[in-house]
């Protein structure tokens, strides 16, 4: 299979040294007070994976200060500012539905039992911007195999935690979405080796604003499919609801595969702004063509053989 491309660049280049050396300091500055929870910025033992990219990774400060995580506010800078009260420990994930052995998995036990890989993935937001992010995590398939999905299971539904007392976006007068945030995948998408449960970024545990302690990363789909701070996974027979699709069905589909040929009704998806680390307006190329399935077509296109991707956007 051509999907396992060997790494072509040394790891020292994957992480720009200045951010690597400063990472604790940056976390401290970017999310003052978070360090006190103890769950922040613990280094993760990771093995290199074949899933890597030649693209220049987005600096840590941009990956952790430009987030869509409406539970902490609607502005991109809100999650870094407003997630200080969030405590991702202790944490359990309930896995149920059409499975042989439903389980409530303790996150720390899960972390100890899985081999954590570093994978550098492209991240394409539905808003037509993109980043390149070195995640740490393990395949979702490893988690699902623990509960043995039944033959009747066709889909996987995910749910984010609801904690209005710790998540300012979930309380008060102005509530942009219905909670909990929910997402879903087809079972074959969920079992695909590219589909990752991320527990870290840049070699350290996930900051709260990036979906601590555990989140989904599906690199060939738009970013909103990557549900954060997951507490529940349910295997189902019917297609589960997904938050943005419920809010605007004509704009956000269930599949949400990155596709330069299918435009969002309000903007083109043909190209994307590469953001972060650009050095301002004139720091270098800041727009490029969007690739089919975000550049992962060789790996995932066969999942959608014979499907009308314009209809199932």
């Amino acid at each position: 299979m051509p999907s396992y491309r060997p790494p072509r660049i040394p790891s020292s280049e994957i992480t720009p040294k200045k951010f690597w050396l400063n990472r604790r300091q940056i976390i401290g500055a970017g999310a003052a007070g978070l360090v006190a929870t103890g769950a922040q910025a613990a280094p993760l033992e990771s093995v290199k994976s074949g899933y890597t990219l030649d693209d220049k990774p987005t600096p840590f400060k941009d990956v952790t200060n430009f987030n869509n995580f409406y539970e902490f506010g609607v502005q991109k800078t809100d999650p870094a500012k407003n997630s200080g009260d969030f405590n991702p420990r202790p944490w359990t994930i309930e896995i149920d539905g059409l499975v042989q052995t439903p389980k409530t998995v303790d996150f720390d036990e899960l972390l100890a039992s899985e081999t954590i890989e570093e994978r550098v993935y492209r991240m394409r937001c539905v808003e037509a911007w993109s980043m390149v992010i070195p995640w740490n995590g393990f395949p979702l398939s490893a988690l699902l195999s623990k509960v043995e999905p039944l033959g009747s299971a066709k889909y996987v539904a995910f749910e984010t935690v609801v904690r209005p007392e710790e998540m300012p976006g979930q309380r008060g007068f102005f509530q942009p979405l219905d909670w909990p945030y929910v997402e879903g995948l087809r079972l074959d998408e969920a079992m695909h080796p590219l589909t990752l449960m991320a527990v870290g970024v840049y070699g350290e545990t996930l900051p709260n604003q990036n979906g601590a302690p555990i989140r989904l990363v599906v690199p060939w789909k738009y970013g909103f499919k990557g549900i954060k701070s997951v507490v529940k996974i349910t295997l189902t027979e019917k297609q589960p609801p997904s938050t943005w699709n419920l809010r605007a069905p004509s704009e956000y589909g269930f599949y949400a595969n990155v596709n330069p040929e299918v435009d969002h009704p309000r903007w083109s998806q043909a190209s994307e702004r590469i953001i972060g680390g650009s050095g301002g307006f004139f720091g270098g190329a800041n727009r490029k063509d969007t690739l089919m399935f975000n550049g992962y077509a060789d790996e995932v296109a066969s999942l959608y053989d014979g499907m009308d991707l314009k209809k199932n956007f």
Binding site: R266, S268, F281
Partner: protein
């Protein structure tokens, strides 16, 4: 008759308003060019210019109600506020063309012809051009009554600009809700005062 010095003072305060009015654009450009506008400086600057256009529009539309309701006469500043609105809308569009879309014409043409929120914004900009071109004393004298008629286009522009802003966002921010309310209120004031005038005649 006003003295020459009071005329000069009045002119100076208007030019000062222009000078202050362009400062946000210069400051924003400086921040973006020196990488001090966050992770997505291009989008941030584009929105920043759009928001300043909305703010100047609100101020320009507030002049008449301020005079009629509160007796505060700032009419001498109205033209400058209108002209500043035009420049900020133009800057907003130019940043979209260059820094954002990098002059990728097929995509720009697709945006301008297919996407309602961009179409509304484009029409608003096009309608602003005749208003900017007739903002000089000479044009005001030349057009007489028609000048006032022509410049009523600002109400159409306001509605288009508002729809452009609201449709262009996923979820409205508190700031956007405040601007929307202000513009709806200012337009509502016109509807209210026209209907009252009509009843009176």
């Amino acid at each position: 008759m006003p003295s020459k010095s009071s005329y000069l003072k009045r002119q100076a305060s208007i030019w000062l308003l222009y000078a202050i009015g362009f400062l946000p654009a210069i400051w924003g450009f400086y921040l973006g060019a020196t990488d001090q506008m966050g992770t997505d400086p291009v989008k941030s600057f584009e929105h920043y210019l759009g928001f300043w256009a909305i703010r100047f529009l609100i101020l320009a539309l507030a002049i008449t109600p301020l005079r009629e309701v509160f007796g505060l006469n700032l009419i001498k500043y109205r033209r400058a506020l209108g002209v500043l609105t035009f420049w900020y809308v133009l800057f907003h569009f130019l940043v979209y063309l260059t820094l954002d879309q990098a002059l990728r014409l097929p995509e720009i043409i697709a945006d301008i012809t297919k996407r309602p929120f961009i179409i509304f914004g484009m029409i608003a900009l096009v309608l602003l051009i005749p208003l900017a071109l007739t903002s000089f004393n000479w044009a005001i004298r030349k057009l007489r009554k028609n000048w006032k008629r022509l410049h009523r286009l600002v109400y159409v522009i306001t509605i288009l600009g508002l729809v452009h802003m609201v449709m262009g966002t996923k979820v409205l921010s508190v700031e956007q809700i405040i601007y929307t309310a202000a513009l709806v209120l200012l337009l509502g004031y016109r509807v209210f005062s026209w209907s009252r005038k009509r009843m009176a005649t």
